[in-house]
Symmetry: C2
Subunit: 272 residues, 2 copies
């Protein structure tokens, strides 16, 4: 089953295009969990968040930085987190890797074979041969950074290159390189106009991963309207901190469920 089939199946079943970012940064976890479990609190936190939200999402997206900061133990927790997520829900590893061909191959092996993630984010700056090893996994999906959600996105991604901004060149390459139908793109909710432009460039069959809602303050309604395809789908709206850290007390999982439910419904209203 390809990533797109898996994504559509769970989006339909859960009636949701919400993706929850498992950016479970140890120092931000509820103190009672940290005191009880030490670094393993990250796993217990993820377990509770996943149990409370698995019927409300179309995907989960752990960002590897928050696991790597704990050293090898963090990577073990990441591996175990992967096993806590019901098999039918796709997992997008937010890794933003990108390197020369033989090295990209090693990263792809790590993320797709060792950790068995369904999808990965890749930084396209190094060009085709840095992306190609990921694309060889035809059942997986590779999301290229096109226009990111942060303030610094303006430094390079919006430079005018041969008559159009750099991010549009990347979006065009994403479409051109998509011979196996396994590429997606990342465009931040903080750039709603660019979202609409990228959707036009990549067409209706490519998923757009949209971070930047919540802590980064992107406008949810405009982001959804501008990123969905003609069938009002394939926009994966990611929210991390404002869901998983909705509360820092004993009721944190309940609070995360409440936040996720409200976001899922808001996304669906914007799609309608």
């Amino acid at each position: 089953m390809s990533f797109l089939e898996k994504l559509r199946a769970v989006a339909r079943r859960n009636n949701s295009w919400l993706c929850i970012g498992l950016d479970s940064e140890f120092p931000r976890l509820p103190s009672f969990l940290r005191e009880r479990h030490g670094p393993s609190a990250v796993l217990e936190f993820n377990r509770a968040i996943i149990e409370a939200t698995a019927d409300l999402v179309c995907a989960y997206k752990p960002n590897l930085a928050f696991y790597e900061m704990l050293g090898p133990l963090g990577l073990e927790i990441l591996y175990k987190t992967r096993e806590l997520i019901p098999q039918e829900i796709p997992i997008i590893a937010d890794a933003k890797r990108g390197d020369i061909e033989n090295t990209a191959r090693a990263y792809a092996k790590a993320l797709f074979e060792y950790y068995r993630f369904d999808a990965v984010t890749v930084n396209p700056l190094m060009g085709f041969d840095s992306v190609a090893p990921f694309l060889e996994y035809s059942e997986k999906c590779t999301f290229l950074l096109v226009r990111t959600s942060n303030p610094g996105a303006r430094d390079f991604q919006e430079l005018n290159c041969d008559g159009k901004p750099l991010y549009q060149h990347v979006a065009e390459k994403a479409r051109q390189w998509n011979t196996r139908k396994n590429i997606g793109v990342v465009v931040g909710a903080t750039a709603p106009n660019e979202l609409a432009i990228v959707r036009r460039i990549v067409g209706d069959e490519m998923p757009i991963l949209v971070p930047g809602i919540g802590a980064q303050a992107g406008d949810l309604e405009r982001a959804v309207k501008n990123s969905v395809n003609a069938h009002k789908e394939l926009a994966i709206i990611n929210v991390s901190r404002s869901v998983i850290f909705a509360s820092s007390s004993e009721d944190f999982a309940h609070a995360a469920r409440h936040a996720a439910l409200s976001l899922r419904d808001e996304i669906n209203r914007a799609r309608a």
Copy 2:
């Protein structure tokens, strides 16, 4: 002691601007080591390479991909490799990370605090706030990808943006953001003309990390001449596969030493 002081001290003592890339990909290790040790062969391999070459280098550069592909165990091996390298030799973690500010902060914590690397490579596509958390570590060095050594470098890095190629914009930002004197740049040996242009842009006090010699077939003499500063220094010439995999038999460490010695001398002749 800052990265630059540490780098200059060991370069002087070893009379060397050669950096050895510890891209110790498990399937490429000598078969007798793999059979004897399993995945831990990576550590034994690194130990032998480091012992055979520590008096010939100015730095070591492990690429994280080749450790991550082994899962959490690979990261343990990376940690232990770090401890095998004599303290006076700087270690550049080739990680090519880059993410929004709070995430970049977690990556910086992982690489500079957990693993205690001296320097790191960072992908600048996401702009200033994705780089800034690394720069806060003033004794460390952050190498920004400016013009990479691979064929795909042409896809985006050479696009003409507002009158000059993208890579020159990145080199200019590297100079501009270098208020703490702890930025370096990466330019591939396969792009010798671009190396000369970048050296002019960044000035004489910024180190240039130069991959692409050896397996990637860059011209060593031109690369060295075009990347050194006015004092014929601060060009870190990295060679990975053609040194560490010089032989796959029992004499592999001896063969690596032989290859390193010859490269070190060739670099010095080109500097003269």
